[in-house]
């Protein structure tokens, strides 16, 4: 079964978020009581390998999951920055469903031995989707906790055999006026482009996501294929990817082009480096089902709390200069 097929499972087989949350609690409870082996339960969980209810310490250390309260599916899919569908937070979810996600091809090229134009199925063939529950921090000062579904970006990239000249990887979002009404306004220099250093792109935390909450990505979340880089501000996690290019030099990135003093190439989450217009010391966490009116701001952590995993990549780098 290809990933695409896996994602096209009938609605009745898709676990409802409430059940999803509840089952975890029940399973965790059983596990805690020692009444149940977990392997059997796990098999029933389509389409990805389910996260173990009892998180194994190695994975926890790797930051692949978190027990923090999750953002609801409703909030993750209705509060989005995706300027190709409008610059308001609700615009992308309220825009007409004009994005054609099938067929979808991704052009991979540049400094690699095996460039090509691949269908989404071919791009992800043989890779087992996995779930990662990551914190997601927006440069605007709000954050979410999201269960993504995807494959490690590094596993996909290495199939193209990047050469020693591939120091960076550049990504491009689809830019089709017919499918994306927001393109009629030049909020950014379209198409949207982002980039990573090759070591960042191949870091185990970097995810090429195709789903949220065990369901396929919706248009507003960057269907059918997007990046998820939990230690960086959200805008680095480019959506609806149509091109991946291995390059020798630091590539053009859209927000950096728009305001280079506000949005650096790295854009790692860092409470010590303020955005010129607002502080990054704390954040408003959008999570849970209760009212968010009385929730306290929470302190922002260096690299969004993933410093243990990604910190070594930035050793010796002046994080004020290379923000």
């Amino acid at each position: 079964m290809s990933l695409r097929d896996a994602l096209r499972i009938p609605t009745r087989d898709v676990t409802d978020e409430a059940v999803y949350r509840d089952r975890r609690r029940v399973v965790a409870g059983l596990a805690a009581s020692g009444a149940l082996g977990l392997a059997g339960c796990a098999k029933a969980d389509p389409p990805a390998a389910p996260p173990a209810a009892k998180v194994d310490p190695a994975r926890m250390r790797a930051g692949f999951t978190t027990s923090e309260e999750r953002t609801t599916y409703q909030d993750v899919t209705s509060y989005n920055n995706f300027y190709e569908f409008g610059t308001g937070k609700a615009d992308p979810s309220q825009a007409p469903r004009t994005l054609r996600t099938h067929p979808w091809t991704v052009a991979v090229g540049g400094q690699c031995a095996k460039p090509g134009r691949l269908s989404l199925d071919d791009l992800l063939k043989g890779l087992k989707p996995e779930e990662r529950i990551y914190r997601h921090r927006c440069v605007e000062g709000w954050s979410m906790v999201i269960p993504w579904l995807g494959v490690p970006l590094g596993d996909v990239l290495k199939r193209f055999e990047p050469t020693s000249k591939a120091k960076f990887v550049a990504f491009t979002t689809l830019a089709d006026r017919k499918q994306m009404p927001g393109l009629s306004y030049p909020a950014l220099d379209w198409p949207y482009r982002e980039g990573l250093r090759i070591d960042e792109a191949t870091h185990p935390l970097a995810l090429l996501a195709t789903g949220i909450y065990g369901k396929p990505l919706l248009q507003q979340n960057g269907a059918p294929l997007r990046l998820v880089l939990p230690w960086k501000y959200g805008f680095k996690s480019i959506k609806s990817i149509v091109a991946i290019t291995f390059v020798e030099h630091m590539p053009f990135t859209s927000w950096n082009d728009e305001a280079s003093d506000e949005y650096g190439f790295f854009s790692n989450v860092n409470p010590a480096v303020d955005h010129p217009r607002w502080s990054q010391k704390t954040e408003r966490r959008i999570a849970g089902t209760g009212s968010k009116l009385f929730a306290d701001r929470i302190p922002t952590r260096l690299f969004n709390g993933y410093a243990e995993q990604v910190g070594s990549m930035y050793a010796g780098l002046d994080l004020r200069k290379w923000f």
């Binding site: 709000w142 950014l188 010129p276 217009r277 607002w278 502080s279 704390t282 959008i286 009116l293």
Partner: protein, 222 residues
């Protein structure tokens, strides 16, 4: 002093019924956004996520700020409208519109301090001191305070000519408020541009009146 001031008070003319009705309507219209917001907050508290979206704190701040700005523009439109229509009665609505501007601006500021920054004095202070868009917004609100405080008849009489000079601060406030909005948005300037255009027209009208018309008047007078 008090007695003489009271004695000097002119006999109040009775307000015409039409004006009273119109004032009630304006009050209701000005309160409508606040009532809508109060209802949405009630729903948010009782039912959980509602029309305020995933980030209700940001939505509340933005909504209140936007209405403060809209009422400011409406207040500034009163004088040009009177000059264009010749209807002096319009001036009777200016003060209440100005006070509603102050009301929305104050609740906007309070929402930012209480709901957003959770009364964290150090963060509030740092933001006002270091973030230009906050500094500008705070300055606009601060300038509104003396205008609201001197909006009643007795202050008007006590200040005499200086009352008019003081209340010309509204022009500065309009510029600061638009700038506050402009600096807040990330790259889509359409909405702040709309308000900047309206403010430019309203202030430009006054400049034009002063410099393009008065010389001619002086000429005929001379």
């Amino acid at each position: 002093m008090v007695l003489s001031a009271a004695a000097a008070r002119p006999v109040r003319r009775r307000t015409e019924p039409g004006v009273i009705v119109a004032k009630i309507v304006v009050h209701l219209l000005a309160l409508l956004p606040a009532a809508w917001l109060a209802w949405q907050i009630r729903n948010e508290l009782v039912l959980g996520t509602g029309r305020l979206g995933a980030d209700p704190v940001a939505a509340i701040e933005h909504f209140l700020g936007l209405w403060a700005l809209r009422l400011l523009m409406i207040t500034l439109a009163v004088t040009p409208l009177r000059q264009l229509t010749g209807k002096a009665v319009l001036l009777r609505f200016r003060r209440m519109l100005g006070l509603y501007t102050f009301f929305y601006a104050t609740v906007h500021f309070a929402a930012w301090m209480v709901l957003d920054l959770r009364m964290d004095a150090s963060q509030i202070g740092a933001a006002i001191a270091k973030k230009p868009f906050v500094t500008v917004g705070f300055a606009a609100w601060l300038l509104l305070v003396p205008l609201a405080a001197t909006s009643f008849q007795r202050a008007m009489r006590a200040l005499g000519r200086r009352w008019g000079q003081l209340h010309r601060a509204i022009y500065v406030i309009a510029v600061l408020a638009v700038l506050h909005f402009w600096w807040l948005v990330k790259s889509d300037i359409r909405e702040p541009l709309l308000y900047a255009t309206i403010a430019a027209l309203l202030l430009g009208w006054r400049v034009w009146k002063r410099f393009a018309i008065s010389p001619r008047r002086t000429a005929t007078a001379g």
